[in-house]
Symmetry: C2
Subunit: 761 residues, 2 copies
């Protein structure tokens, strides 16, 4: 285990004071002289032909400066880029329209844009735009949508976007070898990211003619998409990311950027846009609804013999990140288990539902609900303890996933499950109608992007002449402490305190590009880039110090702004003096480093095989619930999480992430669902779309394992998304343990629990 | 000679349209919500004790938000840093006060600061600050100031700041060997930079708590000085340089930065400050007034035998860059001539005059007036043609300067003089009282900083995924086309057009630091850094293209956005396709390069010896003047300049620089002088301080020699400052040629010419 000064310490983040005091400036907290307000006119139909759009009345309204429709957009039908990726091919093109042309494909699709002197004028102008629609038949179920003759969401293209498969061994034979086979269909709904901060931004043309967009985003590198939409070269668009008031994948795709960019470009004035809550729920992407048909077999000892999974992902009306999500689901479909015979098919399908794209857990969360439900049912059928059956099947280091990827780093499944089981303790006796149950679920979640994407991240670390330190990183901080972790890494390497460091983040003009803050990749990628840069600077300083002290630099260390001899002997030198000496000698004390993730080609996307991800985070959730046998009412008494995080750079942040992931997972397990009726969203406020409140949230017990064997800095692994994955199945397994009845579609509401109990009786 | 596509072409600068249309945003053209106006209270005495300062009335004035005096400044007595230099030592510390404490040392010294809601309130507040002064005796002549018992400008320190010497050979013997010895005293006055744009800036605290200063400056790296003055770490101050409406060295030292930084830090509001013209003339540094006692000997063939020069530089009341200026003068004192015996002594001396610091030509301009006047007088005495005597003494490549520096690159003195002489043509007959005369003068001027300073510059060149290009360089553009030249270099290397390139400059947070835009160093330093970075990117692109085309990358070239085989064979590939291929392969298409100037230690500053500068620019001016024999009135009929510029990256820019330098030099020769009466500046407007108008300016004939042997990119040399050096002596020599009378102190006004003629008669 490494011996660290600052890494591993649960210190407050560099920006927590400002946040706690309400001083942090979010995207909507920004004003420029002469700023206009932008608004979007959205379709109320999930599927309709646009017969005509008349903007003339709106244009004549006092204070209105621009009304734009599709024909005003230089490149309206566009392909989203995914961070630093130029082209991917293989069916991964996330095609979408900026503004609807002759058809609307989902309720909430943007049809026209307005910019006006006041928000009120902009809203009024929306009402004055006259759009004549002719409703068209739609398709709202992915299994229906791939049937021959189903209405096509996008004319001229198949509703089936992508199909990924795994074929390993012989599943038929595997099921023959099984003593028990469980076959079930699991359903999970569209869910919203439900961030506090709705989509917002301000765009303006700077004095060099650059379109500058200050926006709440997880991906500043959408400057490229915006440039193409506006018909400009990439170097004429700048995106500045603000502190994000919740992202969770919902701010991974473009939100307001192109809209305000277009309006600013047209009016040559600054334009602000802030979505209302209704608009946010209506318009931004959701977590994919999945139908998952699972069949798993095990022999009498509980050893798995075969798994067959057919998964239908409802992509909604545009492609966006659906192929990626479904690729992730395919890789994760068989879970972290040793299964000799596996057959997986995942279909991403267009429908006229709300668009679906990234959501925390990106394709890993849905199948975990299925495979971990199956494990508990197998255990029950075989009368084996749920922990025991998992233990017999957990993958170990050196073994490979169904997709063929060998797990070449520490795999802490058994350790995490053991810890959770121990924490859950012995059986709790029932109390009246309240039956208490316990459940566990383990999960695997990748961190870092797929290896065929050639992912890179860059960071700048510089020591000023007075010894103060500057970091520049393109990282967006989505509230996970991304920026603060980088400060901690640099403080460790250079032996300084957090206060000595100033960090600039998330500006395509100001900071070296660091890729997206998605895929649980920033600590891994930018952490490594920052570590590399800091080490280069350290090398220069220690080299000079060695020269001054007459000591081999290898024997020197940097601790508390002092350069000391590691064996305790000899004179020391202050950090400041060493920095001054370097500066006087003309030695550069700044470095830009690029970290390149390992690359592995994966050119066959139809039949997946090989190493897909750099590494995975493994963990287990445990839940203790009380279910009212008479009403189906449920209380989560305890939620326990144990993860191998590799190395907790800041344990406070890691625990915060795991607690947040726990609540997020509880919402998924018990409350959250976007209700769509024939494509029409019915849950347009937080009084209809239910998320866990503080009263719904149990204390979450967090246990960390630090194998120091991750691929991130100091052996860290990612934790942002993994912390969600196994919450829902742990809760559903606990419900089944309490009342002997099982829910197969999320969320597990009291009504469903009640029905399940009733069906069982 | 290199074969170039874009380098060497006189194309319009990337920003000329905006400038011509008045769209460029200068420092004063900037407004922030809630912005206050800052004003400075200045001393009207050149030397006085401050008995008391009462700010209470000013503070109570409606709209006044801050009144600051010296005790409000965390580090009031400060040392200017010179760009990237940390510490120099050797008497080079440019100590000055932000605000006067118990004494004022020159007329115009800042005493107090005010920030108020309006400019009017700020001005009113200045009147309400009551300062009681007790006038003290001052010293106003550098030769007086170093006499024992002279009043001390700064208590506790000698008025003599620095003394540099050269001792070469035996001057006494040299003078014995001479047939003719000319001994004269030359005087040059304080002159103003007289830029169109007075000093201006806006400071504010950004959302991260960083003090951000948007200012017209030649040195964004003063962020360090500002940080120290404010008592902040360096990483908490950011300086953004605006397009500069004239710098010429006058914006090399701090101007408004510390004042607005202090006021913004105190009030937590944005603060703007714009100097009035009077304030600008009064408060900013001037070119040093020099007294130069020269004695030069030559044998009967006109071959120089000895030179002895004693130079007194009037530094005014604070040190600033005076030691550097006087070091330059020492190195340049003997001119570009082969002289076996040389003795030079240069003294920089504090007085209670206006502060003196950098001015275009930085220490090279003053001695050129002296040594080139001497050359003409020697020629006349020996009856040798002025061109001929110079030709016999010009240094050649491989020979060394008096200081011992060997000239290891092409020395084009004779070529430039020959060209000018030819252009001047034969003798012109007099016309009535108007006598026509011709004169030449050659000069040497260093470009790039002194080698012991370890100078560095960095630049970023990146190719976006669509093939558009971004440059980031810390360069300040002072109107010389600094930014545009970098674009041209990159366009050349990457075979693209200027329109494909976007450049960000001059922002300590946004751009890699490039050092100062002074010392005629940016084309040399940042040009080289940019060239290096562009070549790295080119290498990556050609490497990938070679792979695709199956051709050795060495055989590929980039021309007009195409990758072509240099032998004309084989398939070509578009630049965009190659860039896309690199992006898809994860190859980084951006590079930060650092160019380090060659280093040479020069630890003995008292007795200079060795290589001081990386290189010099050599050139010759010729002037044809008509002097009215009856009145002394003078017309400059022609000004001819010939310089070896190494390589003219943009001939339009180079010619513009030489034309500008010519006018600048004519002002020095004929009009400009800050009139100081016992330390009191009497020339506080352009009706008293005279600069050449368009009617005073002849057409300037520019001849370029391109040896391609400079140390800049493509063999370029610097031209910004060198273009001024030899103007004044060429004009004065022409006057002497016309009327046989010589002026020994600048400016050569009609009165002085008249007196000289009278004295001669």
């Amino acid at each position: 285990m490494g011996n660290y000064q600052i890494v591993g310490k649960g210190i407050p983040r560099h920006d927590s004071f400002e946040k706690a005091m309400g001083l942090t400036s979010y995207a909507a907290d920004y004003f420029l002289p002469g700023m206009l307000y932008g608004k979007v006119l959205r379709s109320r139909y999930p599927s309709a032909r646009i017969v005509s759009i008349d903007t003339s009345k709106a244009e004549r309204l006092n204070g209105v400066k621009a009304v734009l429709t599709a024909r005003d957009v230089p490149k309206n039908l566009t392909v989203t880029r995914f961070g630093q990726t130029h082209t991917i091919g293989g069916g991964f093109e996330g095609i979408y329209r900026v503004l609807a042309e002759d058809k609307v494909h989902y309720m909430g699709e943007a049809v026209a844009l307005v910019a006006a002197e006041t928000k009120e004028a902009a809203e009024k102008a929306l009402e004055l735009i006259k759009v004549v629609y002719e409703p068209l038949p739609g398709v709202f179920d992915p299994k229906e949508a791939i049937k021959p003759g189903a209405p096509r969401v996008e004319e001229g293209r198949d509703n089936l976007i992508s199909h990924f498969s795994i074929r390993k061994g012989d599943v038929e034979k595997g099921f023959q070898d099984a003593s028990v086979v469980i076959e079930r269909t699991y359903r999970v709904p569209f869910v919203d990211h439900a961030y506090i901060e709705p989509e917002a931004g301000v765009a303006w043309i700077d004095e060099n003619g650059t379109v500058t967009i200050r926006v709440s985003t997880q991906v500043i590198e959408h400057f490229r998409d915006v440039a193409e939409i506006l018909g400009l070269p990439h170097n004429k668009v700048r995106v500045i990311g603000t502190m994000v008031g919740g992202g969770f994948g919902g701010k991974e795709d473009i939100t307001v950027e192109a809209f305000i960019g277009l309006l600013a470009w047209k009016t040559k004035r600054p334009v602000k846009m802030v979505y209302t809550r209704e608009e946010s729920i209506l318009a931004h992407s959701k977590r994919h609804a999945f139908i998952m048909e699972y069949k798993t077999g095990a022999n009498r000892d509980g050893v798995l013999t075969a798994l067959k999974a057919t998964i239908y992902g409802d992509a909604g009306a545009y492609v966006y990140l659906s192929p990626f999500v479904c690729l992730y689901s395919t890789v994760d479909a068989a879970g972290p288990y040793r299964i000799p015979n596996v057959e997986v098919d995942t279909y991403a399908v267009l429908t006229n539902n709300n668009i679906a794209s990234a959501n925390r857990g990106f394709g890993a969360t849905q199948p975990c609900f299925a495979y971990e439900s199956q494990m508990d049912e197998l255990a029950k059928a075989l009368k084996i303890d749920p922990f025991e059956i998992r233990k017999r099947n957990y993958l170990k280091k050196g073994e490979s996933l169904a997709v063929g990827q060998i797990l070449d780093r520490h795999v802490a499944l058994e350790e995490t499950a053991e810890k959770v089981r121990h924490a859950l303790g012995e059986e709790t006796p029932p109390s009246g109608p309240w039956k208490v149950g316990k459940g566990i679920a383990s999960g695997m979640t990748s961190y870092g992007r797929m290896m065929f994407l050639h992912d890179t991240s860059r960071a700048y670390v510089g020591v000023e002449m007075d010894g103060s330190i500057t970091i520049r990183a393109g990282v967006q901080d989505v509230g996970g402490g991304q920026a603060s972790s980088l400060c901690q890494i640099v403080a460790e390497v250079l032996g300084v305190s957090m206060e000595d460091i100033k960090i600039y983040i998330a500006d395509t003009a100001l900071t070296p590009l660091a890729g997206t803050t998605t895929a649980t990749r920033q600590l891994y990628m930018s952490g490594n880039a920052t570590l590399m840069a800091a080490r280069e600077v350290r090398k220069t300083i220690l080299g000079k110090a060695g020269e001054i002290l007459g000591v081999d630099p290898e024997r020197l260390d940097l601790i508390d702004r002092e350069i000391v001899n590691t064996d305790g002997s000899g004179a020391s030198l202050s950090f400041s003096d060493a920095v001054r000496a370097c500066a006087s000698a003309g030695l550069p004390l700044y470095h830009v480093s690029q970290f390149c993730a390992p690359f592995n080609d994966l050119r066959r996307f139809d039949l997946l095989e090989g190493k897909v991800f750099p590494d995975f985070t493994f963990g287990t959730h445990g839940a203790e619930v009380a279910v009212n046998e008479e009403t189906g009412e449920l209380k989560v008494l305890r939620l326990i999480a144990c993860y191998d995080v590799g190395k907790a750079i800041n344990p406070l942040s890691v625990e915060g992430q795991i607690e947040g992931g726990g609540i997020y997972g509880l919402g998924y397990a018990l409350h959250e669902k976007v209700i769509l009726e024939e494509g029409k969203t019915r849950t347009l406020s937080f009084s209809e779309y239910l998320i866990p409140t503080s009263l719904d949230s149990p204390d979450i017990e967090v246990h960390l394992i630090e194998s120091e064997d991750g691929v991130g800095p100091f052996g860290a692994k990612g934790i942002g998304e993994p912390s969600v994955t196994s919450v829902a199945p742990a809760v559903v397994n606990a419900i089944a343990d309490a009342v002997g009845a099982r829910v197969f579609d999320l969320p597990a509401t009291p009504e469903k629990i009640f029905s399940a109990m009733k069906a069982k009786r």
